[in-house]
Amino acid sequence: MSNRGNSVAKGRGAGLGSRALVSVAGEGAFVRLYGVVAAGGFRRYTTYRVATAAGVFTNTVFGVIVAYTYIALWDQRPNLGGYDQSQALTYVWVSQAMLMTVNMFGGGFADELVERIRTGDIAIDLYRPADLQLWWLSADLGRALFHFLGRGAVPLAFGALFFDLALPTNPGTWLAFLLAVLLGVVVSFALRFLVALTAFWLLDGAGVSSLVSIAGLFFSGMLLPLNAFPGLLGEVARALPWSCLLQIPADVLMGRHHGTGLLGAYGFQLGWAAVLLGAGRVLQSAAVRRVVVQGG
């Protein structure tokens, strides 16, 4: 079982992709191509069931630890950042549920892409008749969907069972939350894609990617809600792209954005997604012009 898991991890991305290309690209059905890539991204992660269960356990343990520190904090300062205690606890459990979906710790596809740049395998990706950025975005969306279901649902349910959470009863709010999560994943992807491309210049992308993921961890509000950040730091943090990953989806779920406010929140996410994806394209074309395949 676990052996199989490993070989699948290595093989599936490339195998599935090329098979899809043969059958699909000829028809010019590009949407289907990227759909297949996304499905591959999803299925690839479903292989690791034990790892998923282990991750859920760890998220839940962290959720409990953080929840108690927030209880102590909100006991001292009720209404800190405009949250009451149950909203603060909701925030804790939403953040544990979203951690993997928006890939808070970095890694995932980015590590793979960096490794392909470092080894020179990127040359193969570049002569595929598919767009590099869209290819990886599709795969990452598939992964995100799996992590949302597989890693998100149980911690949130655990939190709702053992703590007093402020979850909405209106299905419309849940739908609005799903859209905010989707946009958050796209922004997260765009950031990590940009970072991964620095490997064209640095060869070992681990340094930059760890710095960026640390900045992300802090400015996404994973460690403390951005609402609770004091003064100017809070203003800056809420304007940075990382606030799209967790703070906005969590606030949408708690019904803190509605009407035009909700449209404003989506607009903010879309704006950052457009800017960062665009920057990724520019950097990609600059990188491709200078690419010298190593060991080739």
Binding site: S2, N3, G5, N6, S7, Y48, R49, V50, A51, A53, A54, G55, F57, T58, V61, F62, V64, I65, V66, Y68, T69, I71, A72, L73, Q76, R77, L80, L202, L203, D204, G205, A206, G207, V208, S210, L211, I214, L217, F218, L223, L224, A228, F229, P230
Partner: protein, 306 residues
């Protein structure tokens, strides 16, 4: 690699594996019967050699290394920034002042940082079992535990240790504690015992991965989770959690119990204050149990054949 004794080749893979097993766990060199076999390098020699190799390799990409070191420093520094942000809004947390929480943070992070720097790579064991590269380590005439622990030795992990040490130093300056000789001596004892307890957690977690290879992340709940838990005062948490980390999974001995004695704070759960001096014993017990678990794990290991 060390000068591989000829005899290993003759004895065959199975024999070598047994020998490795024995040396890996108990540190006894070689199987008794085979006299012509050269003594295998010890635990520490193996560890320093492999770690040194990885340090040289890390330094080959210098710009990246500096960024990883800074990153490692910052990632834990942000943990502390969060505590500082909390204290920008409140004056105490669970009845503890900023300096007191910083003391808990500093001791927890330093002990964990040291253990993580020494043994952090060990949580890759599950991946090694899965892809079959553990077999390569088993046939080498050197202790397996040292090989696994030193593999991909991350020099950048010193960032966390440095950061924890700085916070600890700062908190010692800021604390208003009536220092006695006993309390001063207790600080290094606490840090070393804490490191040993966390090392035991790492080794036990790795042993667990012999059976549950994909479940490596469970270990993080106890290592990183434990470190996070101990950064906050025990008064913050539910009594059952404090009971759990005192009686079942003895993380409370890493810093809570000795630190509360130093800070002159009441003990949770009505525990007696002489427990402040037991961490070395608890650490020895934990290391013994973890060593046994590792031994059982290596014995039970079956190659995936890939």
């Amino acid at each position: 690699m060390p000068d591989a004794p000829e005899a290993v080749g003759a004895a065959g893979v199975a024999g070598a594996t047994d020998a490795m097993d024995a040396t890996g766990v108990v540190g006894v060199a070689g199987a008794a019967g085979v006299t012509e076999r050269l003594p295998a390098p010890g635990m520490w020699a193996t560890y320093t050699m492999i770690a040194g190799m990885w340090i040289r390799s890390t330094l080959a990409y210098r710009a990246s290394f500096v960024m990883m070191l800074v990153g490692n420093f910052l990632v834990t520094a942000f943990d502390f920034v969060v505590i500082a942000l909390m204290f920008s809004q409140v004056r105490s947390l669970g009845g503890y002042s900023f300096a007191e929480v910083a003391f808990l943070y500093g001791t927890s992070t330093t002990a964990f940082g040291l253990a993580n720097a020494l043994l952090g790579s060990i949580d890759k064991l599950g991946a090694r079992v899965r892809d079959g590269t553990l077999d390569t380590l088993l046939v080498r005439p050197a202790p397996v535990l040292a090989q696994v622990a030193a593999d991909r030795f991350g020099l950048q992990r010193l960032g966390r240790l440095l950061q924890g040490g700085l916070v600890l130093g700062g908190s010692l300056l800021a604390l208003h504690v009536h220092w006695t000789v006993l309390k001063v001596l207790l600080v290094p004892v606490m840090l070393l015992s804490g490191t040993a307890i966390f090392c035991a957690v790492f080794v036990a977690g790795a042993a667990f991965q012999f059976w549950a290879q994909d479940a490596a992340e469970v270990q993080s709940a106890f290592t990183y989770g434990g470190q996070t838990l101990l950064q906050y005062p025990p008064t913050v948490f539910a009594k059952d959690m404090v009971r759990g980390v005192t009686y079942i999974f003895p993380l409370a001995f890493v810093n809570w119990l000795p630190a509360l004695y130093i800070l002159g704070r009441p003990y949770p759960l009505g525990l007696p204050s002489w427990l402040a001096f037991t961490p070395p014993l608890v650490a020895a017990l934990c290391l013994t149990l973890a060593g046994l678990a590792w031994r059982v794990g290596v014995r039970a290991y079956r190659s995936t054949g890939s």
